[in-house]
Amino acid sequence: MALVRKDLALELRTKEAVPAMFLFSVSTFVLFRFGLDRTTLEGDLASGVLWVTLLFAAVLGMNRLFVAEREEGGFDAFLLAPVDRTSLFVAKAAVLFGFLVAVELAAVPVFALLLLGPSPVGALPELLAVLVLADLGIAIVGTLVGALAVQTRARDLIVPLLALPLVTPVVIAAGQATAPLLAEAGAAALPGRWLGVLGLYDLVFGLLALAVFDFLLED
């Protein structure tokens, strides 16, 4: 908890990650609106635009996740403490998950106002379930990639190059699960199998991350 509290305090003080992620999302929605020359979207297209935008916004958060640890000696301070190294992964993943939720609380309503044809209000619980499962997967992979990339000089390049292919299954599953919720004819039933895919992805990558994170902190 000390690690999470410290990161939230730093974000509140610096406002580096969440505002940038939100502004990026809104800018991208505006670009899609003009690029597609459409005032309203629904179904597959709406779902695709939403998830691609949220994913690119998440990359900004991944890039910033370990910067203070790297530049201000946080890694050394952490490694000097009698603390299980896995706790750093859990804390950072929780922080990135929190950043994603905070961004989505503001960005999804903006998306609905700017681009979405059908109202998502009727399908809100299902949409929330997809968002939570997808955010969890993005946070797990993003933390792993962020920790790996921050050790390199080309951090800004490494994060998208590694993260985007790794989270492609999340975009596919979340996109497929969200599309019927944003259908023109009104929200259809949530495809359970895509939720299952998201849950399985979170489980597999969660276990994988716990297994390999220690090695990323070795000199």
Partner: protein, 230 residues
């Protein structure tokens, strides 16, 4: 915990390389519990590498390193939390205040946060405790970093130029925490030859990563140490 008779640090042929470059080679010494090792050497001589190995932040590539009774790197987990490192970087978050930084480190080390104000007062920083570290002078940040290094009452202090940026008043204020009478064994990197010798029980001089001088402090003159920088 290491027994009182067991050396705090025992090194045998210790070496470390960065790629092709040898940073440290053939360091052999034994430092008794509660004793002070002064490390001298020009820039790039391997002093900081030695300190980082002892702190478990770097793996030794050759030889043997035993710290507080544990062999490194495999026993590193039992050493963490028992060493206090004061490095070049203060290891403080610039956007957090001195108080917030120290409370964070107290939680990491499982130490009562109530110890923080007393430490800050001891180094004369209580009045600036709530200001972000980025607004503090280097000397002030160094005082806070010293509080961080001793917050958990370490058994071994690893100090890289601990008095850098400190005025005489601040140096006197931190002496009870990191000075000779503080209690723990100490490894001190210093460029202040006279002060370093006065504080030391054992002297190690490094040149190009290799030991050029290793002797009890009483047998080493300031001229011997200055020769390392020639």
């Amino acid at each position: 915990m290491a027994s009182a008779t067991e050396p705090a640090v025992e090194l045998t042929g210790l070496g470390r390389a960065y790629g092709e470059r040898t940073a440290l080679e053939g360091v052999t010494l034994s430092l008794a519990a509660g004793a002070t090792l002064a490390v001298f050497g020009a820039n790039g001589a391997g002093k900081s590498t030695l300190l980082r190995i002892l702190a478990t932040l770097l793996r030794p590539h050759s030889g043997r390193a035993r710290v507080l009774g544990a062999d490194l790197p495999e026993g590193g987990w039992s050493v963490r939390g028992r060493v206090g490192l004061l490095a070049h970087d203060p290891l403080l978050y610039r956007e957090l205040s001195a108080q917030e930084n120290l409370v964070f480190h107290a939680r990491l080390h499982g130490v009562e946060a109530a110890r923080v104000p007393a430490l800050l007062e001891q180094v004369g920083m209580l009045g600036r405790a709530r200001e972000p570290v980025r607004t503090l002078s280097r000397g002030m940040a160094q005082r806070v970093a010293i509080c961080r290094a001793v917050l958990h009452a370490p058994e071994l202090l690893l100090l890289d130029e601990p008095l850098a940026n400190l005025d005489p008043g601040a140096a006197a204020a931190v002496a009870p925490l990191i000075g000779r009478k503080a209690g723990p064994a100490r490894v001190v990197i210093s460029h202040d030859v006279e002060h370093g010798l006065a504080e030391a029980d054992l002297v190690l001089g490094l040149r190009g990563g290799r030991p050029a001088l290793l002797a009890p402090a009483g047998e080493v003159s300031a001229a011997d140490v200055r020769a390392l920088y020639a």
